[in-house]
Symmetry: C2
Subunit: 447 residues, 2 copies
Amino acid sequence: MFNKDQIFQLLESRDGEALRALWQGRGAVDIAALLDSVEDGARQAAVFRTLPKDLAADVFSYLPGPTQATLARSFADGELQQIFDALHLDDAADFLEELPANLVTRILRSASPQRRMAVNALLRYPADSAGSVMTPEFVSLRPGDTVRQALDTIRRTGIHKETVYTCYVLEHRQLLGVVSAKDLLTAAEDAAVADLMVTDVVSVGTLTDREEAARLLAKYDLLALPVLDGEERMVGIVTVDDAMDVLTEAAAEDLSIMAAVTPDEKPYFAASAWEHARHRVVWLLILMLSAAITGSIITRYEDAISAVPLLVAFLPMLMDTGGNCGSQSATLVIRGLALEEIRPRDALRVIRKELAVAAIVSAVLAAANGLRIYLQYHDSAIALVISLSLAATVVLAKLVGCMLPIAAKQLHMDPAIMASPLITTIVDAGAVLIYFQAAAALLRLPV
Amino acid sequence: MFNKDQIFQLLESRDGEALRALWQGRGAVDIAALLDSVEDGARQAAVFRTLPKDLAADVFSYLPGPTQATLARSFADGELQQIFDALHLDDAADFLEELPANLVTRILRSASPQRRMAVNALLRYPADSAGSVMTPEFVSLRPGDTVRQALDTIRRTGIHKETVYTCYVLEHRQLLGVVSAKDLLTAAEDAAVADLMVTDVVSVGTLTDREEAARLLAKYDLLALPVLDGEERMVGIVTVDDAMDVLTEAAAEDLSIMAAVTPDEKPYFAASAWEHARHRVVWLLILMLSAAITGSIITRYEDAISAVPLLVAFLPMLMDTGGNCGSQSATLVIRGLALEEIRPRDALRVIRKELAVAAIVSAVLAAANGLRIYLQYHDSAIALVISLSLAATVVLAKLVGCMLPIAAKQLHMDPAIMASPLITTIVDAGAVLIYFQAAAALLRLPV
């Protein structure tokens, strides 16, 4: 691999030739990773300037957004324009989104009108839409083309296209069918494209959720998915590499939300302690204050607690088990909703399933726990109270845990918000109420 | 889309022609989804038999494992052999893994020796290895080939290969370089493959973790990743569609483990209530019994509780906040480890970062909570006890939350195991201990 110090040395000795030799044969991904690890902005720009022109744009497109912005600020106008013009259209649009408005204006002013229009169109799609991740560059064929003509089209336009392996047959910009490069290569040269093309094409709209587009691409094992505008005209493709990034990001985002952390694209170490704290403290405050509700429920049972202080000893077990049961159900339902195995209209089926699971789980847990408490404290009344409360808490937790994510989906909210922390808080209050009511009734305690 | 009833009607009226017309132009993915939704096994087999031969194997490869096994049991030997022979080698190996041993023996006995060897080799790779997801079918070229010869090779062998868009240049089965179909198409016909190929090739070993292979493929935007055996000979490729499935499965698995559910590939509704209960109850039992430790800590402070019963009211808030803080840190570290943003040797950097975050978060939470309690109960001593305990709990939770996943990684365990439920249990015990000690000391309570 690379050695940062070696590169800095070559830089300082102004040994351009040795540097160029070093870049030779290295992949853009690895060079971008090296460049990103250089912490000093001036040094970063200096290293970047030693890259051969054809490699520079490629390396640039693999840099994280914030690093692109830092680099861009240290470039002269001419340099910036050169990079911008060499980027693929979708990468160019992503890049502009990272820049302050004055730089964006400056770059777009000197771009060609055609390029400006194309990039502007991409920038207008909502952040989570298929339009925002698509590239408007693809190989388009006419239905009357022969295989020979099609291969020529690939050769002519291929170099600048992100993927050339799926060709789209268009007439008046309407998508008639697709033909793969593999089919073109294995067909007779004078066969008509119209005879080879598959007409049953999976496509999405520009406003389709980008996660849905990525899932379709994965489901149908495609290399690229065509994107149509409101008038059914084909305007671009989502490629498999971008779809993979979308799915990875979506999974990471769900994970964050489920742990009550505001999602952030920045890597762990790249975010400052302040940023980390900001992304975590709001949810903690909300959850803390709602846990206070459980607290005030407890204060209503102070007399019961004074009478039997041992009751308090079982609170953590009841609350934790309730929280865990709730988050198990919530996680499975959130995952099912994401994979479209569960739809909101399946709510009743989910409830039936969770009730059946709750029956088995609560029987096992109540028995195990009742036995332990009886053996430990030799008090069958307390053992009975705990076992019954535990069983009721499990049922409550499973119900709340499975219903809240479905309700969120129905309300067009992200089901992941309804994950463990929120459910734990709700289930806690219920568990405490059930427990002290059961204790008061069965142990005849003052309330 | 399809209509199941319509298909059943055509089946009963034995209208083979209408059925064949129905399949015409439909994708294998959609037909597989329809077939999978047919609940009666005999009907499923009847529908499957109406598929044209060339489509049948494709549809079969898209069916979930258990459905494949059900179908296979209702096939005659000849039928089964025909399907098996038409499957891609990696799909064939996956299929065999779903079948009982006697069926596997029967199928392999009548397969060609070459095919039997290839499938057997695939079956020998560990379940989580790159070898287990690779396909041994790829386009291999010799360094002396011209572009024309290379394109001919693609044409000749392409139809049976899962991906033809990346060709591998081999000499004595050693990988010299790769050349893309795009480069071949745009190069002069008599150019040498050796001059076009890229020699800086990313590859993995057969025993590399399949998740790592999938991440490399995503990182370098590849369509296929070469897999080398122990002697550096190229034995197969992992294709981008399989890599996507691996990443999706891995994310779902992590999510399950983090919610204390034993991972299961089955869709939510496909698993019975018993199976769901089995995947959840073991962890619940373990966590429940460890929460009992927190309970026995509380019993040591019964005198303090009798003296100030109000103390109990703040237990849920302390425990929940501790659990939430811990799971925030744990989730971010687990994600960082999975994406290789964090390595075990970064442990000290992570601790420093989490301590800084904990300082900010605990200051905000302690202030907000102290103020609330003071306003609600007008008791500054209690407010102080809670605020201090809360701050200490946050620090403890962040430390435990960030260290346990790193420790697990260091011990070659799955860091996801160290997620919220386990951390909550540990932090709970600590929080209770801190709280009652602080209360006893500051409020001068009997212990």
